[in-house]
């Protein structure tokens, strides 16, 4: 049975195993590869997508669970908050290997959409599910503070 949902603003119908994780459906079946595979167990956040605006770990979300919902990946990001976050990521040169950064950015956008002025503790709480082995955390914090200023301006 096909699963129908909206991906980055476009209607999608996928006839795959209903247990196939959203991440692999989007990567292997639809061909959008910005969201990454890091653990397959909702431990690292590299696969983070927005489902109806909320950050979810797509590696552990069966495709059948998102029937009728709106999914946004890094490729479909847009709007003031996303632009501010991505610009801050470039300005602060957050990325090193870059592999986790799609997920980091998706979590940061979700945070700033809810909270326009997070403090360090709130940033740490919102971003704790996203691992970066290059430990770019210092710059992630700085970039989120900077993006928050842009969003508030």
């Amino acid at each position: 049975m096909a699963t129908k949902f909206t991906l980055n603003g476009k209607a999608v119908s996928l006839n795959v195993d209903p247990d196939m994780p959203l991440l692999w459906a989007v990567r292997d079946e639809i061909g959008l590869t910005g969201s990454k595979f890091g653990c397959g167990a909702a431990q690292c956040g590299a696969c983070t997508m927005h489902v109806d605006g909320q950050p979810v770990r797509a590696c552990s979300t069966p495709i059948s669970a998102i029937e009728g919902q709106k999914v946004t990946t890094i490729e479909g990001l847009g709007g003031k908050v996303a632009q501010a976050v991505q610009a801050a990521w470039v300005k602060h040169e957050v990325a090193q290997c870059g592999y986790c950064q799609s997920g980091q950015i998706m979590s940061a956008v979700a945070l700033l959409t809810d909270n326009k002025k997070p403090n360090d503790a709130q940033i740490d709480e919102a971003m704790q599910g996203n691992i970066c082995r290059c430990a770019t955390y210092v710059r992630i914090r700085a970039a989120i503070h900077d993006a928050a200023k842009t969003v508030r301006a």
């Binding site: 795959v16 990567r27 890091g38 990521w89 470039v90 990325a95 290997c97 870059g98 950064q101």
Partner: protein, 730 residues
């Protein structure tokens, strides 16, 4: 897990490889190979990009692409190498691009590794410095010659600035793109002057990273993102114990999973090949495999450590001998002794190992975040019975490595190639390791046991030092043994200990090289991951015992080492060493040289009433020669501190009856954002040739943190990870 590889290495100079891990001499003799003329002629047709030399391609749209012989795995090498070229070329930074060079050791060998193309040992900038300056300056001269011919003016009247070639008297101007085809046909001048470093406009400045944008919008391409027509995905079921082999298997259920195309046995296990990842994963779970454990490692890490401790009671092979250590101990007023233990560690890069392999009758093409091109070419060729040059490698971004992708056995590459061969190359194959495969897959930082002993005279001076190290060699039993192990000593087992800089008249460093069935590998900063901790923490124990300030003691012992002193003093000054701290806050310092770079770090630790503690701030000072890109240096030191701190506070890999007990990030924990301290990085100005910075930030953090805790609690810390709680003793 076959440790014995059949590859025969090209004439890799042992000295070259060791120096790559170590010292001066880099760039003294720089091999410089030009692109074969016929290849250039082929490329130089009008309207197509022109190869000016093996490292520089200029397109009609005026972009200058540097072919990087080094893997970009996060360390900023693409930006650094392009900066060196752009500086000598007088290019505009905005026109610069970088891409991975093809696998071709004749053109792209790491000069620190002899004749092997590969990345590691923090050598990218050091070994490329002279080579790429010359490549850039030569290309500039060729562009000038092309303009001189075209405009019929003397070359010496032509100037170049920000990518524009000009002749002031005639008012003529041209871009690099307009001159490139003509320039490519000019015979490269044999000797070109290099720029006076005082006139550098890009080197030493924070030019923006070339990969920042692609890595902030999801467009950067990693191996996992490569998609070829008809490509299949493979997952490999490896043995549950290191050294076990497939006895028999039943693929009936696996083949019944929709989307599974084939199940094949290869050297390392049984591979399920499917139309997508999910089908391959379900297929793998449905495999029924019987394993032959007869040759497998069946000891647990506790048993292995107990053996190491017993071994440490006997003398090892000498790695360093200064003075008369036994006589000095005999007359010492006091003898201190301490042991330090270090677990196996997985690298756990965010992108688990993966590669794409396309096989046909003429050769094989591989896409990977490839860190060891020459070795991987030889190992892949060995599997296929081909020549290494028939193995084409497309080196693309790696999602981290920390050493994991540079394996002498080319583990993941060989697996991918064996699977492609097993299905007769009927489709391109993407091999994906899951995180569980990564954590359980071995090639860890080896477990180590250290015993340190110091003799102190009645004035409190250290007169004798004995350091005994017990652990596995990374290269013994591999083709690298021949040029990296000398008189039984694997340099990577003792680096940081055998070259301890402290002025101690009688010193002995010994090594016991052990054997286990656990595959091991270099892990960001290699031997210094354990030697820095053992030596720097032991020194603080001596300082406490002799009632000396840890900084003052180091200064006293380093008078002949100005670069160590430079970073030590800078870090101490910036951290406010000696200034009073609020209650519960403590400071520790450590200094260490690795990969010819010098780093000192001061850690500030906050101890809570319940005994829990957190690293709040780390101040680092680094001397890596002339800074090419200070912002990338800072980023690498931040990263090195985070990576080292992860192993400081999080448990390593353990085994029970040979089976690895961890499997994913829930039980192999790594540093998360709330555990990351504030980091300040200060760079010592230098006119020395650049050295590495990918690794040297890592070693000092663990001892600096332990020393902070020791200073505030009077407890001793003799193993990593450090305990999660500490108590202040009276």
């Amino acid at each position: 897990m076959t440790e014995q590889s059949k590859i025969k290495l090209p004439q890799a100079s042992r000295r070259g490889f060791l120096q790559g891990a170590g010292a001066a001499g880099l760039g003294l003799v720089v091999g410089f190979h030009w692109m074969p003329r016929h290849a250039m002629a082929q490329k130089a047709a009008a309207g197509t990009p022109a190869m000016i030399n093996a490292f520089i391609r200029i397109a009609p749209d005026n972009t200058v692409t540097v072919l990087s012989k080094h893997l970009e795995m996060g360390q900023g090498t693409y930006t650094g190498l392009a900066t060196i070229v752009a500086e000598e070329l007088d290019a505009d930074w905005k026109q610069m691009r970088t891409e991975g060079a093809p696998a071709d050791a004749k053109l792209y060998a790491n000069l620190a590794f002899g004749t092997i193309q590969g990345t590691g040992g923090s050598t990218a900038m050091a070994n490329s410095w002279d080579q790429l300056r010359k490549a850039g300056a030569t290309a500039r001269a060729m562009l000038v010659s092309a303009a001189a011919e075209q405009w019929k003016v003397p070359a010496k009247e032509i100037t170049v600035s920000k990518g524009v070639v000009s002749h002031a008297a005639s008012g003529k101007k041209a871009t690099f793109g307009q001159l490139a085809v003509k320039a490519a046909a000019i015979t490269p001048p044999a000797d070109v002057p290099l720029k006076d470093p005082a006139k550098f406009t890009l080197i030493g400045k924070d030019v923006p990273r070339l990969d920042a944008r692609a890595k902030s919008n999801g467009t950067a391409q990693f191996s996992l993102d490569v998609k070829l027509p008809g490509m299949l995905t493979a997952l490999l079921q490896r043995a549950p114990l290191f050294g076990a082999k497939v006895k028999s298997f039943d693929a009936t259920k696996a083949k019944a999973v929709p989307g599974v195309v084939d199940v094949v046995q290869i050297s390392n296990g049984v591979a399920v090949v499917a139309k997508n990842f999910w089908a391959a994963k379900l297929g793998r779970e449905a495999l029924d495999i019987q394993w032959d454990d007869s040759a497998a490692e069946k000891r647990g890490t506790d048993e292995i450590l107990a053996e190491y401790k017993a071994l440490a009671k006997t003398p090892g092979l000498p790695a360093r001998k200064d003075g008369d250590v036994d006589a000095a101990f005999a007359k010492a007023a006091k003898i201190l002794e301490a042991t330090y233990d270090f677990p196996y560690l997985a690298h756990a890069p965010m992108e688990p190992l993966d590669c794409v392999v396309k096989l046909d009758a003429n050769g094989v093409e591989i896409w990977a975040g490839d860190q060891f091109q020459t070795i991987d070419q030889m190992n892949a060729a060995g599997v296929l019975g081909m020549k290494p040059e028939q193995v084409k490698i497309n080196t693309i971004y790696a999602g981290g490595s920390f050493g994991r992708r540079a394996t002498i056995q080319s583990d993941y590459i060989v697996e991918g190639v064996e699977i492609a061969k097993a299905i007769n190359g009927r489709a391109p194959v993407r091999l994906v390791w899951t995180r569980e495969d990564d954590i359980k897959g071995g090639r860890y930082r080896p477990m180590y046991h250290h015993v340190l002993k110091a003799g102190i005279d009645d004035k409190g001076e250290i007169i004798a030092w004995q350091h005994r190290i017990v652990g596995q060699s990374i290269v013994t039993g591999t083709p690298f043994e021949a040029f990296m192990v000398k008189d039984g000593i694997d340099h990577t087992s003792v680096e940081g200990a055998a070259n301890l800089p402290y002025a101690i008249p009688n010193m002995r460093v010994e090594l016991h090289t052990t054997k286990t069935g656990v595959p091991v590998l270099w892990w960001r900063s290699v031997g210094s991951t354990h030697t820095a901790f053992a030596t720097e923490v032991f020194l603080d124990e001596i300082a406490a015992e002799t009632k000396q300030d840890p900084l003052a003691l180091r200064r006293k012992l380093l008078t002949k080492h100005p670069r160590h002193l430079g970073v030590l003093n800078l870090a101490a000054e910036k951290a406010g060493w000696g200034k009073p701290l609020p209650a519960g806050r403590m400071r520790g310092i450590a200094v260490h040289e690795s990969f010819s770079s010098f780093v000192a770090e001061v850690a500030e630790v906050v101890l809570q009433a319940d005994g829990s503690w957190k690293v709040d701030r780390v101040v680092a000072a680094v001397d890596c020669g002339m800074p090419i890109n200070p912002n990338i240096i800072r980023a690498q030191v931040e990263s090195g501190i985070g990576y080292g701190l992860s192993a400081t506070i999080k448990p390593g890999i353990t085994m029970a009856k040979g089976a690895v007990e961890q499997s994913n990030f829930h039980d192999y924990e790594v540093l998360r954002i709330h555990e990351m301290p504030k980091v300040e990085v200060h760079i010592v100005p230098s006119t020395e040739k650049p050295t590495g910075i990918g690794e040297p930030g890592t070693p000092p953090v663990a001892p600096a943190v332990a020393n902070a805790l020791m200073s505030g609690t009077r407890m001793v810390f003799r193993a990593l990870p450090l305990p999660p709680t500490a108590t202040k003793s009276a």
